[in-house]
């Protein structure tokens, strides 16, 4: 699977709440996201370097994550082990370090790049506009299958395999639809609109988008069934 050299949104920033370990997946990599008490955001491989236990079942101790299994503690920023409870006076080895990923916060999302990437996350259509992020929705389908369904919707233009723009009639601001490939069979659709609705108007907008996501769900079909349809 390609896509390691680009930024993907993986979660709305505001869903990475204090003292919570958020858990996402990108291109088959399980990733935990957590915000230290000083505000620093971390994106780590979901794996303790000691015995491989998922850190998503660990605890958030403010500036460290504590592994559930043997209590090893890993520091915000470096991912380095700061304490091995079984050997409290020993300096933890340098190799005891969680793998971390590049992370940015822009347009109301946390963005991750798994590999080398040029530039910053960019949504030029929204520059100079406010950002209203909407509820993200996960589909049991490949990104290409979700993109094909988006392309069949009136008003939606798919720009690349993971990004579409929705110019909505009667709506001055565009909406960006961003695909996060979790695996070859699972995709999360994020959405951000260039408006600053508030109150009842905002809630109606959020509800309408949520309803639309549920409405398109049954229309998302695999590439095999699309080509079978086309050759009929």
């Amino acid at each position: 699977m390609h896509g390691t050299s680009r930024w993907f949104p993986v979660i709305r920033s505001e869903e990475i709440v204090p003292r919570h370990i958020a858990f996402v997946q990108l291109l088959d990599e399980e990733i935990v996201l957590w915000r230290a008490d000083d505000g620093a955001l971390n994106a780590w491989e979901n794996r303790c370097p000691h015995r491989g236990i998922r850190l998503s079942i660990g605890t958030h101790a403010g500036s460290e994550i504590v592994c559930r299994y043997h209590g090893w503690r890993f520091a915000s920023g470096s991912g380095s082990c700061t304490l091995i409870p079984a050997h409290p006076s020993q300096v933890p080895p340098k190799a005891a370090r969680v793998r971390s990923y590049q992370i940015r916060e822009r347009y109301g999302f946390a963005w991750i790049a798994l590999g080398d990437v040029e530039g910053e996350p960019s949504l030029p259509e929204l520059d100079g506009l406010p950002h209203l992020t909407l509820r993200s929705m996960t589909f049991a389908a490949a990104a290409a299958d979700v993109a094909a369904t988006l392309a069949s919707e009136p008003g939606i233009v798919v720009h690349d395999p993971y990004r579409a723009v929705w110019e909505r009639m009667g709506d001055a601001a565009p909406m960006l639809l961003l695909l996060q490939p979790e695996s070859s069979a699972m995709t999360t659709l994020h959405a951000v609109a260039g408006n600053d609705l508030t109150g009842a108007g905002r809630l109606a907008f959020l509800r309408a988008h949520n309803a639309w996501c549920k409405e398109i769900r049954p229309r998302i079909v695999s590439e095999e069934s699309r080509s079978a349809q086309a050759s009929r």
């Binding site: 709440v17 699972m186 509800r207």
Partner: protein, 210 residues
């Protein structure tokens, strides 16, 4: 005196243990070996509760069965604050009832998948159970997401947890033991963190404390 007919691994019995702990009420355990001896279907237990399900409580001689009903009873009789089962606001009481029913509906889905994987209930159609659980979890995640957006932390629109949260929490968080991942339900994961942070919270096997 409260006697609780209890089994350590029962998610329904844990609902009663959890609320009793949160209420700070003393109780006595009557242990029923659900697996493998199936003592909940033995004549002595059926004489107490013909439905043959855990938990059952005997509270000063009153026999109460059904996990959700046990929560209603305990909160009604042993919570002087009235906050766990609010009954002075019809709209709120109705919300609690909705989520108690939702909790009961997790028994043939999330709970059944866990029994299949963990307690060798191999006659269960686990694919169907998981499919049903995912449909319910999608409903729950959406509800919690919009509640959070409106500033509510719990299942009902009230600023503290109720028995609705206690009823739904066990089978939701234990779903992963039945092969149902919670990763794609981020609002549910945040809510389970909040439940674990309630003062007096206790865990059970398969549930990690905060």
């Amino acid at each position: 005196m409260i006697e609780l007919y209890d089994y350590e691994l029962s998610s329904d019995a844990y609902k009663a243990r959890l609320l009793l702990a949160l209420l700070g009420v003393a109780w006595t355990q009557r242990y029923v070996e659900y697996y493998p001896r199936r003592q909940h279907r033995a004549p002595e237990f059926l004489a107490l509760s013909p439905r043959g399900e855990l938990p059952v409580i005997v509270d000063d001689g009153t026999i109460v069965d059904d996990a959700q009903n046990v929560l209603v009873h305990l909160a009604s009789r042993h919570d002087p604050t009235g906050r766990w089962y609010p009954q002075n606001d019809a709209g709120l009481t109705s919300q609690v009832s909705t989520w108690l029913a939702f909790a009961a509906a997790l028994t043939p889905t999330a709970s059944a998948a866990r029994l299949h994987d963990g307690l060798l209930y191999h006659h269960i159609d686990v694919d169907e159970a998981r499919r049903g659980a995912h449909e319910q979890l999608a409903v729950l995640d959406e509800h919690l997401w919009f509640n959070e957006d409106a500033g509510w932390s719990w299942l009902c629109t009230v600023d503290q947890p109720t028995i609705a949260d206690i009823a739904c929490f066990p089978d939701v968080i234990l779903a992963e033991e039945g092969g149902i991942e919670l990763r794609t339900y981020p609002a549910i994961r945040r809510w389970t963190d909040r439940v674990k942070a309630i003062p007096g919270f206790i865990a059970m096997p398969g549930i990690f404390p905060a």
